[in-house]
């Protein structure tokens, strides 16, 4: 039971990260290498805005402000200029953003290693000693809510349709009157918001520090395993990565925890490189 609980929570963390990666890839054709940094900085902002665990509402408002400001700023000031450039330039820029964010942790939060302690009291106890805290229950609920909301947003709302149109063909969409800059900014805001939720959940269960930015790579791998252009795949990929990681750390060797997602990825890439739910046409291959 405890195994299942841990894996499910880890899956939620990775699924939110992978969802952000997929949103950005689908909408803007950018693979974001700064996702882990955004998540952890989001977690730090959540912690600081909560005034050290005093106010949950302030923290949520802080996280939303952070995602709107970061998302719009990253898109409008940097990636908008790279729209016509080759794909790898955008990747390198996101790597640069990642370094800057990571150093912001050092400068602003003095590389403090901290745990978000809002709602960590056990809420549900299972037979056998396992328990879920309020934050764990919240993280599962929020993840489910996020994916359901995303589904309805993309399928039924006007902006959601514009969003899918932009993802399919940005030039055509802009000629039909879609405000592409708005849609892509929104994609960035959504991705950063998902990332900071994920960073918050990660920070409440483990800890936030400059080393924990590697969860971004696990999220990236989850997105790739599921297929870079598939939201459904993000959940499946996250489940596979989280399960594999947990089992290896428990049964084989804790040193492997950072390596496992990538070993998994090598296997997936040699058998089914477009991912479990991805489309073959998306693959940039020779």
């Amino acid at each position: 039971m405890e195994v299942a609980a841990t894996v499910v929570i880890l899956t939620c963390t990775y699924a939110l990260l992978a969802a952000g990666v997929v949103i950005l890839y689908k909408a803007a054709r950018v693979v974001n290498f700064a996702h882990g940094e955004l998540a952890i900085v989001g977690g730090y902002v959540f912690y600081s805005a909560s005034l050290g665990g005093e106010s949950l509402w302030l923290a949520v408002v802080g996280a939303i402000c952070f995602s709107v400001i970061m998302g719009v700023m990253i898109y409008m000031s940097m990636l908008r200029r790279l729209l016509g450039e080759p794909l790898h330039v955008a990747i390198l820029v996101t790597i640069g953003i990642g370094i800057v964010l990571k150093s912001a942790i050092l400068v602003i939060w003095r590389a403090e290693r901290l745990t978000i302690d809002i709602g960590v009291a056990p809420a549900i106890r299972f037979a056998g000693g396992a328990s879920l805290s309020y934050m764990d229950v919240a993280s599962i609920a929020v993840t489910v809510l996020f994916f359901v909301a995303l589904y309805f947003f993309l399928t039924f709302t006007r902006i959601g349709v514009q969003f899918r149109g932009t993802a399919e063909n940005a030039l055509l969409a802009s000629q039909r009157g879609v405000n592409v800059n708005f849609v892509l900014s929104l994609a960035w805001v959504m991705a950063v918001f998902a990332a900071s939720l994920s960073g918050t959940f990660f920070g409440s269960r483990a800890f936030l520090s400059t080393e924990s930015v590697t969860i971004g790579l696990a999220g990236l791998v989850a997105a790739l395993v599921g297929g870079l252009d598939s939201l459904r795949g993000a959940i499946m990929g996250a489940l596979i990565v989280a399960g594999a990681q947990y089992l290896t750390v428990r049964l084989v060797d804790p040193v492997l925890s950072e390596t496992v997602p990538f070993l998994l990825l090598l296997v997936v890439m040699s058998v089914r490189p477009w991912g479990l739910f991805g489309t073959l046409e998306e693959l940039d291959r020779v």
């Binding site: 990747i91 953003i97 050092l106 950072e258 020779v286």
Partner: protein
């Protein structure tokens, strides 16, 4: 009026090493200055130059792969680790001499480069970058295991004695400086000739459009793998020299951040330019020390350890972003523009691609 040197009118001209007549004089002056420098500068400064020269070799290796062949690699730190760990293994278990270790490190690096390069036959762009990242973690895992097994403790790392040629032992910053200067000069000449001849032209064709390159008869598989092997050999040699220079090898040094620092060197220097690799290596290596020196002028209350580290690391990130957005061809292009400016003075010359649209 003489035509600008930046314009080429024949294929032979694109093969010239010295485009401008005064460049030979400049190079001779620079070499003379470089030879005299250790007599003038402090030991600390010579030490910094040693570090710059060491990273130049690795940056040249990455430049061949990413700047010329267009294959993004995030596994550069792993190749440095391969060089360092083959040095440790040959030294500690076999007691091999410096002259044997260095070529052996190159061979190990080359073999591993062949393996890491294999995914490039199927993927490009993002997928390739991520597969090199996967290789990075696999190699670093093995290195961690080795260190835990044979190191003094899991975190202490391994020590390596100073290299020796017979009776002469290479130690101290000044002897190292002359040795590294020779190595970097030879590597640079090798790289320049490599990119002027068949392999380099094939790499640039692959970088610009792989399908068109193949249509022109370039053997994609062969030249991509050649780029990976050459690059990883150079990097592995650089890693081995770095291990000898610092006398200690720990796995903590070979992080993903180190690979990104090398990427920053070639971005800042200018993609697709040998001069750029050298300029970028010097710029990025000296940057943290320059920031450290600047911090000395700040009031004492501002100087926190983590703030300094943060600013040093962040500056690299800012350099990557600023150069990619505003000066994509890097320092090499700035140098080029500067030369054109003085040649054309008092007239102005603007290449077509920099005219604002």
């Amino acid at each position: 009026m003489q035509k600008p040197y930046s314009l080429r009118t024949s294929y032979l001209e694109s093969n010239e090493v010295f485009r401008r007549p005064y460049q030979k004089v400049l190079l001779a002056l620079l070499l003379g200055f470089a030879l005299l420098l250790p007599a003038l500068a402090s030991t600390y400064f010579v030490h910094l130059l040693d570090l710059c020269l060491l990273s130049s070799i690795g940056a040249l290796g990455l430049m061949l792969l990413t700047g010329y062949c267009g294959q993004i690699s995030l596994g550069h730190a792993a190749f440095l680790a391969v060089g360092a760990y083959s040095t440790v293994i040959l030294n500690a278990h076999l007691g091999a001499a410096f002259v044997i270790v260095l070529p052996a490190a190159a061979v190990f690096g080359g073999l591993l480069g062949l393996i890491v390069g294999l995914p490039s036959l199927r993927f490009r762009g993002v997928y390739l970058a991520i597969s090199t990242l996967a290789m990075h973690y696999a190699i670093i895992f093995l290195a961690t295991k080795y260190q835990a097994e044979f190191g003094a403790s899991a975190t202490a790392g391994m020590t390596i004695p100073d290299p020796s040629f017979g009776l002469f032992v290479l130690s101290g910053d000044r002897p190292w400086y002359y040795f590294l200067l020779a190595v970097v000069s030879l590597t640079t000449i090798g790289c320049i000739n490599l990119v002027r001849t068949r392999p380099g032209r094939a790499w640039m064709a692959i970088r610009d459009r792989d399908i068109a390159a193949q249509a022109l008869g370039v053997n994609l598989a062969r030249y991509k793998l050649l780029a990976f092997v050459t690059s990883s050999m150079l990097t592995s040699v650089s890693g081995s020299l770095l291990a000898y220079f610092t006398n200690v090898v720990t796995v903590e040094k070979y992080t993903l951040d180190l690979a990104i620092v090398y990427l920053a060197m070639i971005i800042v220097g200018g993609m697709g330019s040998i001069l750029g690799a050298l300029l970028g290596a010097f710029f990025i290596t000296l940057l943290p020390f320059a920031i450290d020196a600047l911090f000395g002028y700040l009031p004492r209350t501002w100087r926190f350890g983590s703030t300094l580290f943060g600013v040093q690391a962040g500056a690299v990130g800012i350099c990557i972003i600023v150069f990619l957005l505003f000066e994509p061809k890097g320092l090499a292009e700035i140098w080029n523009r500067l030369q054109t400016y003085f040649e054309r003075w008092p007239f102005r010359y603007r290449p077509l691609d920099t005219v604002r649209r």
